[in-house]
Subunit: 345 residues, 4 copies
């Protein structure tokens, strides 16, 4: 059994890790830290776990995470970088669900996240944990930078088109929509029920941290300079993410060829479902599951390809993807503990 520690289990990615790992046949929850909730049984905060998770939160100084095989950081940006070096040195693998190791370029990181990076020497080693595009590297990794939720959809949506040089990489657009849980479990007015319900709005339109992350990763697959306009929106639903992506074709290609290309690229990926051409995937078809669903459109048979991608932002967009990486890092089948069917309705 893999001995698992979680740092910061009081947020939504934290409780989602607990849900997935409590039922994982190859993992054993051994420690969970929270400075503020020291001593509180996890199931008192999250009654959904009553009778199934018997751990209590521990203050960080009361628990030795170096006894774990792997430690997940479900923390704000900046926490993992402070603790990762010591854990790695002790032979513990680290999976960071925040952004500390997502950007290879330190300056870009500091520009967008407004904090100094305290262990830039690990940036090169850190593996970007998107198994579908990076499976071998993940298998061999000690330190995983779990991708952002939006970037997961954007990369899996644009990748086949860029790889095969079918579209203009310089004019990509992703119009993305996220459920409110993406904003985290923080006491803030903007995400109160009475503010976010029965409402829809964009945010961060002039610039968002997930743009540089996505551009840097997509750039790996093309020689053309990637340029992306990314527009996130807030949807009055708890879980779910939908990216509507626009790419302009630079070559003649039929719809059948496009479809085949996507199916081929993701044939070996259990968690990417390429739906029939012209489908409209719904976020709820992934609710609570680690699946990402994709579909292609070609409005008016013009030169614009529209790619629709949906996922559960807390599973494939965060904690499920992290567990998927853990499976690969420890030689388990990639799907172990991740076969939950979506909750519909």
């Amino acid at each position: 059994m893999i001995k698992v520690g979680i740092v910061g289990g009081t947020g939504y990615t934290g409780v989602e890790l607990l849900r997935l790992l409590a039922a994982h046949p190859g993992a054993e929850l051994t420690a969970i830290t929270s400075r503020k909730e020291d001593g509180l049984p996890v199931a008192d905060m999250f009654p959904s776990l009553r009778g199934r998770v018997n751990l209590a939160f521990s203050a960080p100084d009361k628990v030795d995470l170096k006894q774990c095989d792997v430690v997940f950081f479900a923390t704000p940006h900046g926490v993992a970088m402070a603790q990762a070096p010591e854990l790695l040195a002790a032979g513990v693998k680290v999976i960071d669900l925040a952004a500390d190791f997502r950007l290879k370029d330190q300056a870009t990181f500091e520009q967008w996240y407004k904090i100094p990076h305290t262990c830039p020497e690990l940036l090169e080693e850190a593996v970007y944990g998107l198994p579908e595009l990076n499976r071998d590297a993940v298998k061999g990794a000690r330190l995983i930078a779990n991708p952002g939720c939006y970037p997961t959809t954007m990369q899996l949506g644009f990748y086949p088109l860029l790889k095969h040089k079918l579209v203009d990489a310089g004019s990509l657009i992703a119009d993305s929509k996220s459920g409110v849980s993406g904003a985290g479990r923080k006491a803030e007015i903007g995400t109160l029920f009475s503010e976010a319900s029965d409402n829809f709005k964009a945010y961060g339109v002039s610039g968002h941290r997930h743009t540089p992350e996505t551009v840097a990763q997509l750039q790996r697959f093309t020689d053309q300079k990637v340029s992306l306009v990314f527009t996130p929106h807030l949807v009055p639903m708890i879980r779910g993410m939908h990216s509507t992506m626009y790419a302009r074709l630079s070559k003649q290609v039929s719809n059948d060829e496009l479809q085949e290309l996507f199916e081929n690229e993701y044939r070996g990926s259990a968690f990417v479902d390429v739906m029939p051409f012209g489908s409209h995937p719904e976020t709820r078809s992934t609710r609570g599951s680690n699946m990402l669903r994709l579909a292609l459109h070609r409005p008016g048979n013009g030169d614009m390809v529209v790619i629709l991608a949906v996922q559960d932002n807390l599973v494939k967009g965060a904690s499920g993807q992290a567990v998927q990486c853990m499976n690969l890092m420890f030689g388990l089948d990639e799907t172990t503990g991740l076969t939950q069917l979506a909750l519909l309705p």
Copy 2:
């Protein structure tokens, strides 16, 4: 493997059966019927099942349900009674999620459901499938009447008090609230998003079918005549049910004694969670799981006991309970395939 047939899989209890049974280690989906959707792959209607359920709907006359070990009826009232006799005669066990066999009294059935009963001879044999109060009978049953969703909460809430003669059975009140999926997957104006969202209302206050069912079952546990005022309401949420139950104490009893009594009664029941005295269970703590959670209150330390009970109306209130019965009927552990943790948030 138990060979399972489903009649009427296009509704919400149907797709929930599919979700649970597709992941059940001891069951094998072998047939699913729908007159209207003959030939349609199940996963085309419910994309959440893509890649996991490969069955297609069959017209009833194209499939031999007598090859199954058990057949679930996730159909409107009146369908199971038409087919049950033949299936039972062929040695197939039957679990009806509708009301056909819930009431022992034929006249009461016909009064409330407005249809004649076509096999009253089976009413006596049919076992009311609430395992917590009826476990042995369920184990030996050929024909299960799966309880209504509201009655499940009301019986598990009032039972310990009635059994121990602590309250006035003649003045019970249950003020219950259900998510909209309880109304089924039917094209109706009243349950449109734009009608039911951001709204709250009672319905059926003057009389509801679940009253006679609940009264008849509760009467088994007391000599006093049971009288119940039951008020159902519609909540703008998909899944979830909350019953707030009021019973007047007829004996002196301390809060600790009440709590102990409930804990003792449900100690052996894996799916009933008695929370600490004074807790406020939330419906979401059961979302997607087969758990029912209970808590007791005594406002102002007066003579009124308030019992709060929550469950997922589609799982413990319907399809999960049906699978729980199946497990018992086939000698499996009661919790087999039913250990999903609730999806929170």
Copy 3:
């Protein structure tokens, strides 16, 4: 034009006052205070008011509220009592939307609100601002205690029955449900969208502040000792409140007589709509309006009367009721500026 000041306009009752008063033909918004938002245009915080409310928030010390004719306190409990004496002395009328003056008994206030009362000498004078049951007193008042949202529904529901001695006052039950805006515009985890959406729960079941307020008011109408079990619940909707009330008949009375009694009592009340016997009022039928709708039921024609009452908790349950009081205090027609039709759907 009545010169109006608002203390504390950054919460939901505050912005609702702004919406109503900005369109009120007899009132003129002249000042709005907020310590924290000094200088911020109101419409920057609430873009719905852009182009219609040109005021900015002022720090309390920068504005002379004594120039107003009336000041509304849309503040936490305890603020109005600190400022009311000085305003009243200056001839300014005061309407407190919080609880400072709702309870005549100082000890009860301090027990439930956990703060000392700083001007108990005003408790006697303060008029409980429920015009339907207190219209003449409201007309002559200098100081109004605007009722709690739940108590408004409970009093209007039980009053006719108590007044006519038809029910047992010692066993009243109110099972009430409120939209989330009732919890206010405060940064708290419990009312985040991801916590409160797709969820239902009770709270404060063992004891809630609105119980003593309601009991004290209802006691005015009966010689029998009033006893009330009150159970509030949180509904995943923004606005709306539904009380389901249970009273046991102590006299023989027909349904027609009950109905007539309610219609007679509320004939002169423009904002109480007695629906036909057996109706199921929906909260949305009052969304954004000052209307409260009532309907009566008698389940199984037994001795229990069930009264259903709905209102918009921010209008008739708070700011609309306050404006209704203002109208009466200044000799305007009670309905002035309060004729908005509910927003449906």
Copy 4:
């Protein structure tokens, strides 16, 4: 008083017309037809109108609409074209909220709406009822084609850019999101609460009727050939519409110049609110009001302008716009009866 008739008042645009017209100081509701609901008081179907609208639905053959000054058609496509000629001949003005007269080209209409046009001779005369871009024509019109909800946002968003030849008209993209009420009050499974809540999806991505309507109207303002990719999505909210529009600059222009241009174009339009550059308008800031709010962005200061536009799809997107046209047609101030402030929260 303008005598108003409504054909088909049982849908959402119908009840919204009733809400607006019942409070309109210059209009008098005189007839409302519904074949199915003949004799039913309107307020029995929509209790929000109790006490305020005393009309009953009449079968079409029982009422003489020719006695009206204006008749609104809140009907499915195809109804208005059947009755408009006779009404116009009798001197009655006609406002069609459906699509019968939106497209000047009969063939295009028949291709997209799949019904033959029965009075093509009126297509030329019909005035497209978007007052901000067509005010004078609306004033003189006998027959109004009320715009589609999506096209209203798209035209008001793109118009200033096209008029001033600042962008490439051949690569416009509109990624639009609508609340569920846009689908109408029809018994359908896809818009049930349990299907549409806690979910997000695109629809009609390969082609939607609002594309040809929008393109034809935008073409009026530019010599360049307009090409538009339009992607509608369904948001789990009742009312509200958000269009995120992308246009590529073909000229050098500063953000200040862009902002000034929009402000100038809409200075005289009471119902278009150009927010400060870089704002994120929320749909709820228009809930129940006739306001449309716009804001401009320039991500990364590149050559893409992003325009955000929000409105209430049932008001500015439908019934409010229709009343705005009526006001102009009858010489009233454009804002008469349309000054409701948005309901927030």
